[in-house]
Symmetry: C2
Subunit: 317 residues, 2 copies
């Protein structure tokens, strides 16, 4: 069995990737995170190793020789916080991942998948849906550091034959996403409804995004790990765009069935929000056979139900 190191594998997307790897059935999974214990419970048989920032180099040196594959989805900032302190965004993300890529290039790995950001690396789109050839002019520090890490990986691929591949996800949503991080419109909208708080939409209809269910995204990451072409970049979305108002129209009946309303406040559009981001996934489908399986309305039902269970549990506690 191959041994797959999943960095940042205890987060929202990471947990789903662990499940997808276990379903695949041919991998031992080792999750590496910053905290002493994983922030979410890991399934039986999955190992965990703690790499605090000040010791990450030595932990990687110790762990990498026993690994065949790496999936790097570690990120310690989100687009919104990256604006407030772009230097912090550099310091918490680049040194760790650049060091990881250099070390990885010195080991005989069979695959290295870097989870980038299809929602931010392209910037304002010249055309929709956005394919992987589209120019990359990010308008957030988060997107700039993600893009820089793609370039480091591609450099080590050219110079040291690191078997490097990039996944650029759209906007993931699904059960278990926190509504408090300043990203994840679906999670924020559901949390607002459940807490009877108003929700802010920037601009008349908000922004158009390519919402992908986290389980579909997890399968996409595993598909690239198994079948992606070395050196290549893959969008992972659905090819379908929803603006904020469309998404709220989809959520409203779910809220109404629970006797809840969606109260919306509008504020002016923000200059740093790209108006629309919808990803072409033709390349991923062509190269790996992957397709999204979970329809947005079906996914929203599951997400709403899961959030409601948590909210009910909290209100009883």
């Amino acid at each position: 069995m191959k041994r797959c190191l999943l960095i940042g594998g205890a987060g929202f997307i990471g947990t789903a990737v662990v499940q997808a790897l276990l379903v695949e059935g041919s991998r031992h999974v080792l999750v590496l995170g910053r905290s002493v214990n994983p922030v979410r419970e890991l399934p039986a048989g999955v190992d965990y190793v703690c790499a605090p920032p000040e010791r990450s180099h030595e932990v990687l040196m110790r762990v990498l020789p026993s690994c065949d594959e790496v999936i790097d989805m570690a990120y310690a900032s989100v687009p919104k916080t990256s604006f407030e302190d772009p230097v912090h965004d550099v310091l918490v993300n680049l040194p760790f991942s650049v060091d990881l890529l250099k070390l990885a290039s010195e080991h005989a790995l069979s695959r290295f998948v870097f989870v980038s950001s299809g929602g931010t690396v392209y910037g304002n789109p010249l055309y929709l849906p956005i394919d992987e050839q589209h120019p990359t002019n990010p308008v957030s520090p988060y997107g700039i550091t993600k893009l820089a890490l793609e370039k480091y990986g591609q450099m080590y691929q050219r110079l040291a034959s690191l078997p490097f591949m990039v996944v650029r996800p759209g906007n993931p949503y699904g059960p278990g996403q926190s509504g408090n991080l300043g990203q994840g419109f679906v999670a924020t909208a559901i949390q607002s409804a459940l807490q009877r708080q108003p929700l802010t939409v920037f601009g008349e209809r908000g922004t158009v995004r390519d919402y992908i269910h986290v389980d579909d995204l997890a399968r996409a990451i595993v598909a690239v790990l198994l079948h992606g072409r070395t050196g290549d970049v893959y969008n992972a979305g659905t090819g379908q765009g929803n603006d904020n108002v469309m998404l709220l129209d989809r959520l409203r009946p779910l809220a109404a069935a629970d006797g809840l309303a969606l109260e919306v406040h509008h504020q002016p559009a923000r200059p740093f929000d790209v108006a629309a981001n919808v990803l072409s996934v033709a390349k991923l489908t062509y190269d790996t056979g992957w397709r999204p399986r979970i329809d947005i309305d079906e996914g929203l039902v599951a997400t709403w139900s899961a959030a409601k269970v948590v909210a009910d549990w909290k209100s009883e506690a």
Copy 2:
């Protein structure tokens, strides 16, 4: 008179930019550097301020309000050293310049010129000469951090109207360049000849580069400052390529006239050297009227003579 802040202005290129700004005659020049005193003597009337890394933020906060323009050419690494320690390359370059760009976006500057690297941001060329539309896939950490800084500046241009422009120089050479830094083939070759040391060429003919005289480059940077279009990127080279052997053939008669030889050792080509890099400068000429003035042979004579004066002075001392 406008007040121009020149960051990194005491180095090899910076000194020439100071001269070009003084020739222009319409600027007060303030040079900002890391060392307590400027590493090279500055002309009369040019101010100097020291910004040690740990205090750079507060020095910038104090200095920026009195400045109209910024030229950022600060860089604390070179391509060769950036390979050995890419994390160090990140840490010594990105935090300072990202902070500078954020602070600059919060002040009412009339121009911000960032001196990037035409020799490294493009990576392996798909066609020659390379124009500004060419894809950017750097194969050195140095090129990746330079490219990332271009993206930060363009982000602040879009979001905060920072009047940001990029200059991408070819390979500068000229009197005063050090032969010890692991970059600057002309300086290294001349120093090797004067010290009667063999010179290493990687591959049969070495690499093709666009050598631009430092005074032409300095005028190009000032031309972009004065006449460049906000948000635009400008190559600054000559459009002419010379491989290492061609360049040595140009230097050999100068050495012979002083009774010196050029002894060359060949080693295998290095994977991280781009085989050829020649820049199209049509855009810079079209937008600003700038053209290179110093023919390569004329420039090499001046560079050789200056290096010889230094060497004679040292041997007498």
